[in-house]
Subunit: 319 residues, 2 copies
Amino acid sequence: LGPDMAARTGAEDRNGQLTKPPGALGRLEDLAIWYAGWRGDARPEIKAPQVIVFAGNHGVTAQGVSAFPAEVTVQMVANFQAGGAAINQLARAAGARMDVHALDLDRPTADFTQSPAMSEEEVVAALRAGWRAVDPAADLLVVGEMGIGNTTPAAAIACALYGGDAADWTGRGTGVDDAGLANKIRVVREGVALHAGQGDGLDVLRRLGGRELAAMAGAIAAARVLRIPVILDGFICTAAAACLDASIAGALDHAVAGHQSAEGAHGALLERLGKQPLLSLGLRLGEGSGGALAIQILKGAVACHSGMATFAEAGVAEG
Amino acid sequence: LGPDMAARTGAEDRNGQLTKPPGALGRLEDLAIWYAGWRGDARPEIKAPQVIVFAGNHGVTAQGVSAFPAEVTVQMVANFQAGGAAINQLARAAGARMDVHALDLDRPTADFTQSPAMSEEEVVAALRAGWRAVDPAADLLVVGEMGIGNTTPAAAIACALYGGDAADWTGRGTGVDDAGLANKIRVVREGVALHAGQGDGLDVLRRLGGRELAAMAGAIAAARVLRIPVILDGFICTAAAACLDASIAGALDHAVAGHQSAEGAHGALLERLGKQPLLSLGLRLGEGSGGALAIQILKGAVACHSGMATFAEAGVAEG
């Protein structure tokens, strides 16, 4: 399930003939060639981006890890459905279809400081929900999330996968104060200790993650099979994706990092995955917001690649 | 000619009520408030962005400062008019109107190592051409340029305005080799020395700049009067804009930096102007390409600001 090397080579050839100095479009050139390879089309178009927002609730909120009450998850799902959230505006601006999947909001995951967040059945159901949410006709995918408390599982996943101290991976999320941050670090540390040394990336996802994280991972995996390139969003999305990468090397080769969020550990997480973010605008909202904004960058890259004239077509000297 | 403070305050109030944690949209929030202030509308929309590309030829190309022959300027103007250049694709992707103005291409500026690049009459004509090119009905402006050899005048302007060695401000442009770079540095050094200590920013623009640089400056000034916010493009656009800033403090308050280009000194130039770039994707094409790509970021910011529901409207708890 790798890129189509003929399409990729064709795209590289075309890139070298376009009316610009070699390399003058910088990362846009790399992005267009990467996209062409995964789509199997040396001169592709982006016509049908899909944004999917998954929502879940977290037992670990009982430990007081969030600045917002857990009820906000379901309230925000209603806001997504009514079109009032940031992601609605950003998906529309990017010309993307947007879907919202609320995953058993009335049945939060278990508090991972006490037991695994999800049973085998639960994590498989969430992975499957994500897998099935992907439109096979989409040509670009952004997955985002909403789940009060979910920077805590994301930090725990990163700490479990990559080691280091819980404090290295734990940030303020939607805005906890110093005492809240200290408490959050304690919770992450306890969770990681309780589940240490157990299985691969997907087992980490089950024990420390949440339904919306598992669904994002399922959707990213489905996109690989469907040859749909993916733009990762922020810290929580990247933590979910990292579970795939930890299970299968190269599992995120069809994904780029849409942005680096203001959540402190996101940069370190992206570095572990070898992903350089396209944007760095201090976002820390989740919902797929940074990924949706980055759709425009990828669209611009592909528009240049596929729409520009060659030196020969335009009668421009190559220097 | 400052921002409308009532609209700005109204936008700040609205921003605080939107369904997101405070500050979670990062720089998008600042951008939307900035835009609202300059447009005089607390809940603005971006419906009519304009991209203008100015083209000029440079006498200093006789010194061998570019990897491309000077004929490429007029060839690329034809490419812009035929829709085949990168900026055509990026302007279309951003929903922007695009205009091209070729400025006396058959009459290059004078070689600034010998005499001022332009006479008073010539610089005024170019400033006026820029001023008149701005559509008063536009609600956002990107100015870009095409002019073989024009990173050399841009470097000379930056060096004249901010001091330091010519080598600090001179880069490889479209791709000169080491010998070409050394030659370019010599040319910049000679030009800056010849015109040292002569007048203000606009005089620097006349002596060391070029018609397309003067036109960009004229368009940026016109946009200020018309309350049209501006997105700056790369090194050459920023050097032209810096001449306005050097003449009148605050002359660029209605402008943001669209991107940081790969041309080495662009970052230092933006720092002198106190502008943090929105994008940093290694572009070094000019044409307004980075500015046009950044339209999408500003559109996303304004779409969130003006389209999102408030906590009260959505029935979401404020935490």
